[in-house]
Structures are given as structure tokens and as C-alpha cells.
């Protein structure tokens, strides 16, 4: 199997620096990378590399077998180029991982530099010295491997487990076994099956009963290696009465070829528990001609299994060449609540087909959907959402608001709201608007001295307000900055 491992010094010269993607640098560090290709051997090799127990290997193999029988979904309003799954490398880790870093001191300084560039608050001191004084525990997934988790000790004191997925498999196998694949089953969809077969790492969180996590938890993902895919899994369990706010951010270097990201996120929310899950997604979107960029196929699902359980997905999606993503809520517990707040911005040739599913099973379950789609350039932005009220979901309620903003004449916005209602007591509201940044608005702003770019950013920010206010403060600022960067060149 060691012949599978190819040491590769990843020195990549940028051909062109695209100013508008600020995270588009390549880190020059030594790494272990599997050669491209996917077969059962590769699945076994990943599992062996991670010294996994037999049950997990068996689970992966089952998923791989299932995946072979499945086909790439074609129902989304996306033009997906043929993906050669044998051209992708399924495992890459920074070399220093061989003697897994125990503390920050042992982490490759180049890597730390990378995070500094990304603005990841890795050093605890920095965070403590931060103006806001909010603490953020960070887990970083670099290519395939989770590198370091900060604040572990402090979290441990209150019984919170926050670690890489691999560690969780080693240290908390019972929890992993109990929940893994229970809300997103292996065969749920093409990409979830692929992920189950080849997932390399990710984050694991367990919040014990009646515990409010004392700080924000956060994971930053970054794809660095060429031709690698990233397949991480996140599993979060909020036990009875637990509460946690979790944020993930992602970036990738600029590369001319496409890269694949197929993640799975599973959330379990028990009686009276709450999870707030926020995403700022800034994968490389490709250049102005549509070359390169990440294909982002993500399955995120939350099971509100307990009574009064509450989950809230907030996402700000500005990156990726293709986004295929529908964070969903299964509202099984009576009185449970699901929320979905989304800003999806597409520019140039980006395509996004994103939305949510609210599955109402319990009594008096409530869901809220607020989706803001912004299309610029030649991009296409689709909202696709399902609200399903089952027979037993007495008194269920949904409010959906779906707004699209168009910038320029060559982009498209599409809305596909699906409603399936089997209980007559349900109350459903749906509002949808499509608007343009009008010439009159721009003229008005400019007449007051504000540049077109600032005016556009202001109008877009105003459009997204309802979603931004759901983000943790620091990230709301970051999200706004990201939108501005992503819109560069979209006006004028």
C-alpha cells in the first residue's frame, strides 16, 4: 500500500494572480498525497491510513459498492461538466501530520502562515486579545486532514467534545457509531455515498445534556493540493437541553482545473436542544471566463429528534463554480423548529442551485426560510426548496421568503418552491420577489457622492440584511466583505 503513497512536493507557480480572489494562494508545504484514482483499494487505503476499526471500513466499503450503482443527479438547474472520478486524488495530508502535531508549536509554520493569511484565529492568545472577547475554538481541515483543535482543554472541563472526526473514531467510537449516517444514510444521494466511501476527516462535536457550549465552535476548510478532492464529514450532537453555535468557513487556492468538494454534515438535536450552524463558503469560484473553481456538492441535514428542538442554518455562499446544496431540517420532535437563512451570490459563470428542505413530522413544528439570491455577470442562481407537511404534523407552520436580486442583464435567477401538504391544519406562507438594482437607485446614490461600487455594495448589503443579522457578529462583517470582493467587476 505504501506504493500508493507518492511524496510530492507541492510547489505551484501561480500563472496569474486574480486580484479578486483574496484567498487564492497556494501553500508550499510537503505533503503526502495518494495518486489519482478511485477503487476499493483506495477506500481500504484511506481507512488503513487512518487506522480505523473494522466496522468503519465495512461501512465505507458498503458505501462504495452503493455509489457504484448510482448516477450523478441531473435534476438541478446546473450544467455540470463530466467529472472524472479517477482523475482525483482521494487523500492528501500535510506531511507534518505523519507525527501528528500535538500542539501549535509542532504545526508546520508554513501552515500557520496560511491560516494567518486566511484570517483564521488559530492562536488562542490572539483570540483572547480580540476586541470582541468572544472565544472561538477552531478546528482546521487542510486538504484531508484535521490539523489542530484549539481550546480543547477548556471545552473538556464542561464535557464538550470538539475534535477531528478521526480522533472521535478513536476516542469516542460509541458516539460515532450511534449517530454516523443516521440522518444522511449512505445511499441518500450520489455524493453522500461517495463521501461515505472516501471521507478523510472532518469535525466532531458532542454537547452534553443541559450544557451551553461556552464558546463558538468553528472549522475552517481549505483545499490546497492540486487534483485533490475534499470529502469531509461533520457530525454534531446536541444532547437534551444543550446549545451550540458552530461556524464553518472554506477557501481554496486558484487553480485552472476544477476541484471537487463533497461534504456531509449531520446534526442531531435532542429534547430542548439548539444548534445554530453558520457557513461562510468562499471556495474558489473560477476566473472571469469560468475556468477552474470548486464543484461543491454538499449534503447537510439536521434531525430535530427531540421536543422543542431547534436548528438554524445560516449560509453565505459566495464561492464555488458549482454549488449544489440543500441544508435540511427534519422536524420530528413536537414543537421543534427549523430555520434556513441563506445568501447565495453568483458572479461571472458561477452556478448555484441551493435551498432547503423542511420536513414537518411532529406536531406544532415551525419552519422559516429566508433565501436571498444575488446574480451578477453571466451566472445562474436557483433557489430550490421543499416544505413537506406530513399527515401527523398537526398545526405545522412555514414561512418562506425568497428574494432574488439581479445585477446586469446576462444573469439568471430561478425559484422552485415545492410544497407537499398532507395536513389541513398547516399554515403556509410564501413570498417571492425579484428585483434589480435599478439605474435610478444608482443615480441617486452617485448624486450623493457615493461611487457605483460602494452603492452596489450598500444595496446588496441592504438586500441581505435579514440573513446577515443571523450570523455571529464577527462573521457578519466577514460576510459583507466577502460579498464586496465577490462582486468586484460586476458593476460598471
Amino acid at each position: 500500500m505504501s506504493e500508493l503513497l507518492k511524496k510530492q512536493k507541492n510547489v505551484e507557480v501561480h500563472k496569474r494572480v486574480n486580484q479578486s480572489y483574496k484567498d487564492g494562494f497556494v501553500t508550499d508545504i510537503e505533503s503526502d498525497t495518494f495518486p489519482p484514482g478511485l477503487n476499493e483499494e483506495v477506500v481500504r487505503a484511506i481507512s488503513a491510513k487512518k487506522q480505523e476499526p473494522q466496522w468503519l471500513l465495512d461501512w465505507r466499503l458498503k458505501a462504495y459498492a452503493k455509489w457504484l450503482t448510482m448516477e450523478l443527479p441531473d435534476w438541478a438547474k446546473l450544467k455540470i461538466p463530466e467529472i472524472d472520478f479517477n482523475a482525483i486524488s482521494y487523500f492528501s495530508s500535510p506531511k507534518s501530520d505523519e507525527n501528528a502535531p500535538k500542539s501549535l508549536d509542532e504545526v508546520d509554520p508554513k501552515l500557520l502562515e496560511t491560516y494567518a493569511k486566511l484570517g483564521v484565529p488559530l492562536h488562542e492568545q490572539e483570540i483572547l486579545a480580540g476586541v470582541k472577547r468572544t472565544k472561538v475554538a477552531v478546528d482546521v481541515v487542510f486538504d484531508s486532514v484535521s490539523v489542530t483543535t484549539t481550546f480543547k482543554k477548556e471545552l473538556k472541563k464542561v464535557g464538550v467534545i470538539f475534535c477531528s472526526f478521526s480522533e472521535a473514531v478513536k476516542d469516542h467510537p460509541d458516539l460515532v457509531k450511534q449517530y454516523l449516517g443516521k440522518v444522511v444514510p449512505i445511499g441518500d444521494n450520489y455524493f453522500s455515498a461517495l463521501n461515505a466511501a472516501v471521507f478523510s476527516d472532518g469535525s466532531f462535536v458532542y454537547i452534553p445534556k443541559n450544557t451551553r457550549c461556552p464558546m463558538e465552535l468553528s472549522t475552517y476548510f481549505r483545499i490546497n493540493e492540486m487534483n485533490t478532492g475534499q470529502f469531509e464529514r461533520t457530525l454534531i450532537i446536541a444532547d437534551d437541553g444543550a446549545e451550540v453555535s458552530y461556524l464553518e468557513g472554506c477557501t481554496a487556492p486558484m487553480r485552472d482545473e476544477n476541484q471537487l468538494h463533497a461534504a456531509v454534515v449531520e446534526l442531531f438535536i435532542l429534547d430542548n436542544a439548539k444548534i445554530k450552524y453558520s457557513t461562510v463558503q468562499n471556495w474558489y469560484p473560477g476566473d472571469e471566463e469560468g475556468k477552474g473553481g470548486i464543484f461543491n456538492f454538499v449534503t447537510k441535514r439536521a434531525a430535530c429528534n427531540g421536543v422543542n428542538a431547534k436548528v438554524s442554518w445560516t449560509q453565505v455562499e459566495t464561492g464555488s463554480a458549482i454549488t449544489w446544496k440543500y441544508p435540511s431540517c427534519i422536524l420530528r420532535g413536537d414543537n421543534s423548529r427549523g430555520e434556513f437563512y441563506s445568501v447565495a451570490l453568483t458572479n461571472n459563470y458561477q452556478q448555484a442551485d441551493t435551498g432547503t428542505k423542511m420536513i414537518h413530522l411532529g406536531k406544532n413544528t415551525k419552519s422559516t426560510i429566508i433565501s436571498k439570491g444575488i446574480s451578477a455577470g453571466k451566472s445562474h442562481n436557483t433557489y430550490r426548496g421543499l416544505v413537506r407537511i406530513s399527515k401527523k404534523a398537526e398545526g405545522a407552520r412555514n414561512h418562506t421568503q425568497c428574494d432574488s436580486l439581479l445585477i446586469g442583464k446576462n444573469c439568471g435567477a430561478h425559484t422552485f418552491p415545492y410544497i407537499e401538504c398532507s395536513n389541513s391544519t398547516a399554515q403556509l406562507e410564501h413570498e417571492a420577489t425579484t428585483s434589480k438594482i435599478s439605474e435610478d437607485q444608482l443615480f441617486y446614490c452617485k448624486q450623493r457622492g457615493i461611487s457605483e461600487e460602494d452603492a452596489t455594495s450598500m444595496i446588496v448589503d441592504g438586500f441581505c440584511k435579514e440573513v446577515f443579522k443571523e450570523l455571529p457578529m464577527e462573521f457578519a462583517v466577514e460576510a459583507k466583505a466577502l460579498l464586496d470582493i465577490s462582486l468586484e467587476g460586476a458593476v460598471g
Binding site: C445, K446, Q447, G449, D454, M458, I459, D461, G462, C464
Partner: protein, 269 residues
């Protein structure tokens, strides 16, 4: 009445920067069109510092178009003529540069900007203009003080500041908001495009009062209006009649009164 005081002050010549013969704005033989529709056909106008010029005329005469030419609306194409503003070729400047040079337009139909806080918008505008002029940004506490002072002057409700720009404002509130913005931005030349239309008499007085308080020896106004009523409160130095793309008559305040009596029917003769 308030305007009298202002006017007297100006005529007293107490302000040393008042130079009687200097021309602030010189519009020379402007021809302008939107698409193929020729709207302005050789318009001339000169405005000196401190003067108030009223522009009257029938609907569709090109009054708003004149304002838009000065403000720089892209849709309006200037095919002939020139505009000199304080020694600069105004037509060469971008819209936001003109604003920062001191051209302000109170819009006939102020637009709504959903989700953008009115005060945030105004501070962004003020600081953009200050930056252009090489001045430092105004910090939020100084700005807030300024806003408090001016909002009282316009007799506006505080909560309008926190609401999105013009969204859900009544017609009168929108117009007042324009004058409020003007009072913060302190332009050199203000174009008021039918700021009086849709206002009841009380609101009209407040708006006129706001304008009069801003009148000084250096600031000039072009007041576009249909009604002589406004000119009772904002007393103009000159009244012009704009018809068929040109200024066809110029007079003093009494011309407005005369127009009130005769209408514009005489134009057709």
C-alpha cells in the same frame, strides 16, 4: 418671516466671500436628448453665488432634464453646449464627482433603497464627499450631533433616520428627507426639482424654512416648480420660463405671479 431675514443678510453684503460679479454656473447653449427625443434645445443660464433662480414651465418642457444634465444622468445625452461650474467643465465630471464638487439635486421622485439605513447612507455620502475633497472622515459621534441638529430644523421624526432610505416614507417625508440630506451635505449649488409638489401647506413651510436657513451668500439654488405658492416662501432673484427646451422668458418674482394668472397658454401664440 424667516426668508426675509436671510435675504436681508445676503444683500447687506456682510459675508466678505460674496463676490458680486463672479459666476458660479454658466450653462451655455445646451442641447440634450434622451434616445432620439430632443429635449433641451439651446438652453442658456447663468447663476451667481447666493442667487435663487426659479424655473417654471409646462409639463414636459424639460425642467427635470435640465437638472439631470447638471447632475450627470447617463441616459441624457448632451449633444451641444457647455457647462462651467466654478471654473470646471462640469460635463467632464462623473456624477459622484459633481456631487462632491457641490452639486446637489433634491429629486422630484426620491428612490427607495430597501435595507439601507437612512443615516448610514447619509454618512457614507458625506464621507465620500469629504474624502474627494481631501478632508478627514467625520466620525460617528460628530456626525450624530450634526444630524440631531438638522433633523430638528426639518421637523422630521427621529425614527425616519433609522428606517431604510425613503422606504415607507410618505410623499412629504421623502421631500423633507431630501432637504434634510441637503442640509447635511451643504452643497454649493442645490437643484430642487418640484420639491413642493405633493406637500400640504405646513410641510411646504417647513421645507421652505429649511431651504431659507441654508441660503447664504455662497450657496445658490435652482428651484424648479409649478406653483408660485412656493415662491412666496422661497423668494427668488430670478424667475425663468422654460418651454420647448429653452428659456423663453426671464423676470423677477412678479413674473411668477403673472404666470399664475395667465398660465402658459400665451406660449402657443
Amino acid at each position: 418671516m424667516n426668508f426675509k431675514r436671510c435675504k436681508l443678510k445676503r444683500l447687506d453684503g456682510q459675508n466678505p466671500s460674496y463676490e458680486k460679479n463672479k459666476i458660479m454656473l454658466k450653462i451655455n447653449n445646451i442641447h440634450a436628448q434622451v434616445g432620439d427625443n430632443k429635449i433641451l434645445k439651446g438652453l442658456n443660464l447663468q447663476v451667481k453665488p447666493g442667487e435663487v433662480h426659479a424655473i417654471m414651465g409646462p409639463n414636459g418642457a424639460g425642467k427635470s432634464t435640465l437638472g439631470n444634465v447638471l447632475a450627470g444622468m447617463e441616459k441624457v445625452q448632451v449633444t451641444e453646449g457647455s457647462v462651467d461650474f466654478l471654473g470646471k467643465d462640469l460635463l467632464e465630471l462623473e456624477i459622484e464627482q459633481r456631487a462632491s464638487e457641490g452639486v446637489f439635486m433634491a429629486f422630484q421622485y426620491p428612490v427607495e433603497i430597501p435595507g439601507v439605513n437612512n443615516m448610514y447612507f447619509l454618512r457614507a455620502a458625506l464621507n465620500a464627499q469629504r474624502k474627494y475633497r481631501g478632508e478627514s472622515e467625520m466620525n460617528s459621534s460628530v456626525f450624530l450631533k450634526l444630524v440631531r441638529e438638522k433633523i430638528k430644523m426639518m421637523n422630521m421624526r427621529d425614527d425616519l433616520l433609522r428606517r431604510p432610505v425613503n422606504e415607507g416614507f410618505s410623499g412629504g417625508e421623502k421631500k423633507r428627507n431630501e432637504i434634510f440630506q441637503m442640509s447635511i451635505l451643504e452643497p454649493k449649488l442645490a437643484i430642487l426639482d418640484e420639491t413642493d409638489s405633493g406637500l400640504d401647506i405646513d410641510a411646504l413651510k417647513i421645507v421652505a424654512d429649511g431651504v431659507n436657513q441654508l441660503r447664504n451668500a455662497d450657496r445658490s439654488f435652482i428651484v424648479i416648480t409649478h406653483y408660485q405658492r412656493l415662491l412666496d416662501y422661497i423668494v427668488p432673484d430670478f424667475v425663468h420660463v422654460l418651454a420647448d427646451g429653452k428659456i423663453v422668458r426671464t423676470g423677477d418674482k412678479s413674473l411668477a405671479l403673472e404666470l399664475e394668472e395667465t398660465g402658459y397658454g400665451w406660449l402657443d401664440k
